[in-house]
């Protein structure tokens, strides 16, 4: 993963995790896999960022965790979204949309003026 992708991920990882978990409560490994899958291998999240982020979100009360049997039959820590987390995610998604729109406007404006 190159530098700029790393940077991009760092700012948005929390939001992406919240979104993935909102789709389907799951354990860390699965979350990482889904992230990779859905982004079509664009994001490869490192464990060194994923687990601190998961614990941080749990600490903030946006995620809750419980130990459950995984698809392989082993006990795994499953994360799911809390109500507070859902609110946070919605807010962040709205913000992100606005940011994208704004950035898009600026970039397009530059194209036209050429």
């Amino acid at each position: 993963m190159n530098e700029s992708k790393q940077e991009l991920l760092r700012g948005t990882l929390d939001m992406l995790i919240l979104k993935i978990v909102a789709l389907d409560p799951n354990h860390g490994y699965a979350i990482a896999q889904r992230l990779q899958q859905i982004s079509k291998e664009f994001f490869q999240v490192h464990q060194g960022s994923l687990y601190p982020a998961l614990h941080r979100l749990e600490d903030k009360g946006w995620l809750q965790a419980e130990w459950k049997e995984s698809e392989t039959g082993r006990q795994a820590k499953f994360y799911s979204l809390t109500r507070k987390g859902r609110k946070q995610m919605t807010a962040e998604v709205v913000n992100w949309q606005r940011l994208c729109d704004a950035v898009g406007l600026i970039l397009r404006a530059e194209e036209e003026s050429r």
């Binding site: 354990h27 464990q47 687990y51 130990w67 392989t72």
Partner: protein, 890 residues
């Protein structure tokens, strides 16, 4: 929050869970790799590689947790304690060094705390202010009529109250004792908001009418000392200077009166100000200024508002009473800032600032030493740090570890420092006590430790810890993992930064201790000078006996007869060459003050005539104290009550009043305008009178017969040691007046060494010398340690040089050369800083300038020699090394 705390408590469980969670992740990764066609070994290898270090991930997860802070703190603390235990002697040296540095600061702060910072033990002490009365820039106390006007008209104070200081004899059950008291206005205690320990206090206006009965409130310690805490003292009849009075109350334990650094024996109603005197003067004369006035500021009012309002009143009074009150200005000063006395220009802040700086320097030197020890150790610990950082500890975490350790050390040092400080205060306190016991007033130096001292010490300890911690931590954590790990145990791969830091330490240590030495040297030289200074009299072989027959009710005629008889008996004792009587004792008992106006030079209306102190003495005084009369004559027995009034002035007064004339034969007045003129019959040599001062003060003498007072000192000049006369004198006093207490009995030499004389200079010199010695010791140990360590680090280099043909002299020169440069830089820095500091000190020195070249020279030589010696020893050791050993040194 609860969850976080629970997690903190169930730490091992959450750790286990984290393990499981991460292990699960890894295992799934491996499983996936196997599924995609890798061999199990291959899959495990790839997964582990991708995962990137289980411990590192764990550490990062832990860091995100809130409870983590406390968790790591405990980890760091227990680790730090383990490090301390591992090298107990090193830890002990560090703690002791810090204890010295912090203890010195604690001691100095607690003295200042008692002097300047601790409020009066009264209700809302921050509201208490002192009113400073000044006319033509001359400060003075208030007269009673002025005080009344201010009290009546002031709207800035919820209350104005006043007191004056006196000494009398208090006889209870027929035994008179010395009694130093405040005469207070009726509202004194109620305004302060103090409640009696026993009985009652005065009522509003009680005792402010001349005919009121005298009432007494005893000071708590006086009551315990002299009445054995007997509660039956309430209502007891006593005699104060022969006047009947009634004890009505006892002050609480923590209240000592409102006069700085004194413990009042008791409090009398205000009419005690006019005891045994013509009372109309005190109650009505606006020139009679004896009261110290305090005010309780109304809540919400500022000092400057109160000052403006007070000056409106003083202008009104000036218009009403121009003869006495013209150009009077009032300043309102918070009580704590008015110590020691409101119109004494306070030297305390200068001394305080100076000794704070000196103590701070000692602490700085102590820090430098400890930082050096820690640096040396951190070099040894570089491998440990590198390994920890390789295992995933972040740089911040390493710095925190170091900080925790240094804070642990400095807090231990702080605790030991408080003990050391307490000890040094009680040691110097008893020294102080021994000189003050001969004086009339019970001086009270309250240096006890309170929360202010503790918070100051805590702050000093924490700052110290942060300072030395950061100094060593930043260095240690900067080490590059690979370099250190590959560099083997030498740990010298990045020593350049370290050696630069060590050089800076040497420079600062030399400079700091040089400053301390110079200041100490200046104080010592100032003391030397004052000790050898000509005092204007000869203190040798003179004994002073202070008495006051008023205390047992003698009237003036009886008192005069008593003194005449006592003087005759003293002269008849064997070995006695001369005996005399005087009101004041130079450097011991201050004289009276006169408002002097010269005949033919009337004082302009509304102007205050110059205030000049004087002494009332009998004809033998000048011979007993051997004060030369330079012009005219001395007093004679014929200068008695009926003869024309005469005076002897000193040279300074002659210069001041008759600059170009012979003063003998001139006349001046020293009381109010209607008073009689006195004729100057002689000029006496200038001398020291109340406080030691380098400039001669104007002063004059009146014949005792023409200005009698019952409280007098008898001086006895003898060919024998004066102490040998004490018993005989006591016997003579007892034979003449069995009940009369001897107020004070001391040799003139004791007086000269006492509070008014050399005491302050001795104390300052002693303290400065102690700090200077401490600083020098710290600097020597520090420089030695730093240079030795530097040598050790360069051992291999030395070995290589020797192997390439350098001889011992070359090595010695090389080693010393570095030292020379650093010491030179330190000396230069020290001289410049000391120069700036000692210029502010000039007012504290007598007979030596703040930039005295001899003091600077000696201090520079001492510090250079000692520091060079500290360099030379390790340098010589390096030069004597066997090159083979040096080369192999790791």
């Amino acid at each position: 929050m609860m969850r976080r705390i629970r997690r903190l408590l169930q730490k091992s469980r959450s750790e286990k869970e984290l393990d499981q969670e991460l292990q699960f992740h890894l295992d799934r990764q491996i499983a996936d790799y196997i599924a995609s066609g890798n061999t199990p070994e291959e899959a495990r290898r790839r997964a582990t590689l991708v995962f990137g270090g289980m411990e590192r991930v764990k550490e990062e997860v832990r860091d995100t947790r809130f409870g983590n802070f406390i968790e790591t703190l405990f980890q760091d603390l227990s680790y730090g304690l383990r490090m301390l235990r591992k090298s107990p002697s090193l830890s002990a040296i560090i703690v002791v060094t810090l204890a010295l540095g912090i203890g010195v600061n604690t001691a100095i702060f607690s003295v200042l705390n008692g002097w300047l910072f601790r409020p009066l033990p009264v209700r809302a002490p921050e509201q208490i202010t002192v009113l400073a009365f000044s006319q033509e820039h001359d400060g003075s106390n208030f007269s009673y009529p002025d005080f009344l006007d201010f009290r009546k008209q002031s709207d800035a104070f919820s209350d104005l109250f006043a007191y004056g200081l006196s000494v009398a004899g208090l006889s209870a059950d027929g035994r008179p004792r010395e009694f130093a008291f405040s005469s207070v206005t009726g509202n004194y205690f109620s305004s302060l908001g103090v409640t009696p320990a026993l009985g009652r206090f005065f009522l509003e206006r009680e005792g402010e009418v001349p005919g009121d009965p005298l009432l007494v409130v005893l000071g708590n310690s006086y009551w315990r000392r002299n009445f054995g805490s007997d509660p039956r003292v309430i209502g007891k009849q006593v005699l104060v200077n022969g006047q009947p009075a009634t004890i009505i109350g006892v002050a609480p334990m923590d209240f000592h009166g409102t006069f700085f650094a004194m413990d009042m024996d008791g409090y009398l109603t205000l009419n005690a100000m006019a005891l045994n005197k013509d009372s109309s003067q005190f109650w009505a004369d606006r020139h009679n200024r004896q009261l110290i006035v305090l005010g309780r500021l109304k809540p919400g009012l500022s000092i400057s508002q109160a000052e403006i309002s007070s000056n409106v009143i003083s202008q009104r009074l000036a218009a009403q009473y121009p003869a006495t009150n013209k150009d009077v200005a009032i300043r309102v000063i918070p009580e704590r800032l008015a110590r020691p006395a409101v119109f004494v220009s306070s030297f305390v802040p200068v001394i305080a600032a100076l000794f704070f700086i000196l103590a701070g320097l000692v602490l700085l030197l102590a820090c430098m030493n400890v930082a050096n020890i820690l640096l040396a150790r951190s070099a040894a610990r570089q491998r440990e740090m590198a390994i920890r950082s390789a295992l995933g500890a972040g740089r911040g975490r390493l710095i925190r570890q170091m900080l925790t350790e240094s804070l642990l050390l400095s807090l231990l040092g702080g605790i030991a420092g408080v003990l050391f400080g307490k000890w040094s205060i009680s040691a110097s306190g008893s020294a102080l006590h021994s000189v003050t016991t001969t004086t009339n007033f019970a001086y009270r130096m309250d240096c006890s430790l309170d929360w202010r001292v503790f918070s100051y010490t805590l702050a000093a300890a924490i700052l110290t810890g942060l300072f030395i911690g950061l100094l060593s931590a930043v260095r240690a954590s900067r080490a590059h993992v690979n370099e250190v790990l590959q560099g083997g145990a030498r740990g010298d791969s990045s020593s350049r930064g370290g050696s630069r830091l060590r050089s800076a330490l040497v420079v600062v240590q030399v400079a700091g201790s040089l400053i301390l030495l110079i200041v100490a040297g200046l104080f010592v030289r100032s003391l030397r000078h004052t000790e050898q200074m000509y005092l204007g009299f000869e203190p040798d072989h003179v004994l002073n006996v202070m008495l006051d027959p008023h205390q047992i009710g003698y009237d003036q005629i009886r008192a005069k007869a008593f003194y005449r008889e006592l003087e005759d008996r003293a002269r008849a004792m064997s070995g006695v060459q001369s005996a005399s009587l005087s009101f004041a004792v130079p450097l011991g008992i201050p004289g009276q003050v006169g408002f002097v106006s010269v005949e033919g030079h009337p004082v302009l209306a509304g102007q205050q005539p110059p205030q000049i102190s004087f002494n009332s003495v009998d004809p033998a005084y000048f011979a007993t104290l051997r004060i030369p009369i330079l012009r005219g004559r001395t007093f004679a027995e014929s200068d008695n009550e009926t003869a024309p009034q005469v005076a002897i002035v000193n040279q300074a007064m002659a210069r001041k009043l008759w600059p170009n004339d012979n003063p003998v034969g001139k006349r001046f007045r020293w009381t109010n305008e209607s008073g009689p003129y006195v004729e100057v019959v002689g000029v006496a040599q200038d001398g020291q009178y109340f406080f030691l001062s380098p400039d001669p003060q104007p002063y004059f003498y009146l014949p005792l017969a023409q200005n009698f007072s019952s409280r007098l000192s008898l001086q006895i000049l003898s060919s024998l040691p004066p102490e040998s006369l004490i018993l005989a004198v006591q016997e003579q006093v007892r034979a003449l007046a069995p009940d009369l207490p001897i107020i004070d009995l001391s040799t003139m030499q004791q007086t000269v060494r006492g509070l008014g004389g050399l005491f302050v200079f001795r104390l300052a010199a002693f303290l400065a010398a102690a700090l200077g010695f401490l600083g020098l010791t710290l600097a020597v140990v520090g420089v030695y340690g730093i240079v030795s360590f530097g040598m050790l680090q360069r051992m291999r280099e030395m070995g290589i040089r020797m192997a390439l043909g350098a001889n011992r002299n070359n090595i010695l020169k090389l080693a010393l050369g570095t030292g020379f440069g650093l010491i030179g830089a330190g000396v230069a820095l020290g001289i410049v800083s000391a120069w700036a500091l000692t210029r502010a000190m000039t007012s504290l020195l007598i007979g030596v300038s703040g930039s005295d070249p001899a003091t600077y020279g000696v201090a520079v030589v001492v510090i250079s020699v000692v520091a060079l010696l500290a360099c030379w020893i390790p340098a010589r050791r390096a030069a004597r090394m066997d090159p083979l050993v040096a080369l192999r040194y790791e």
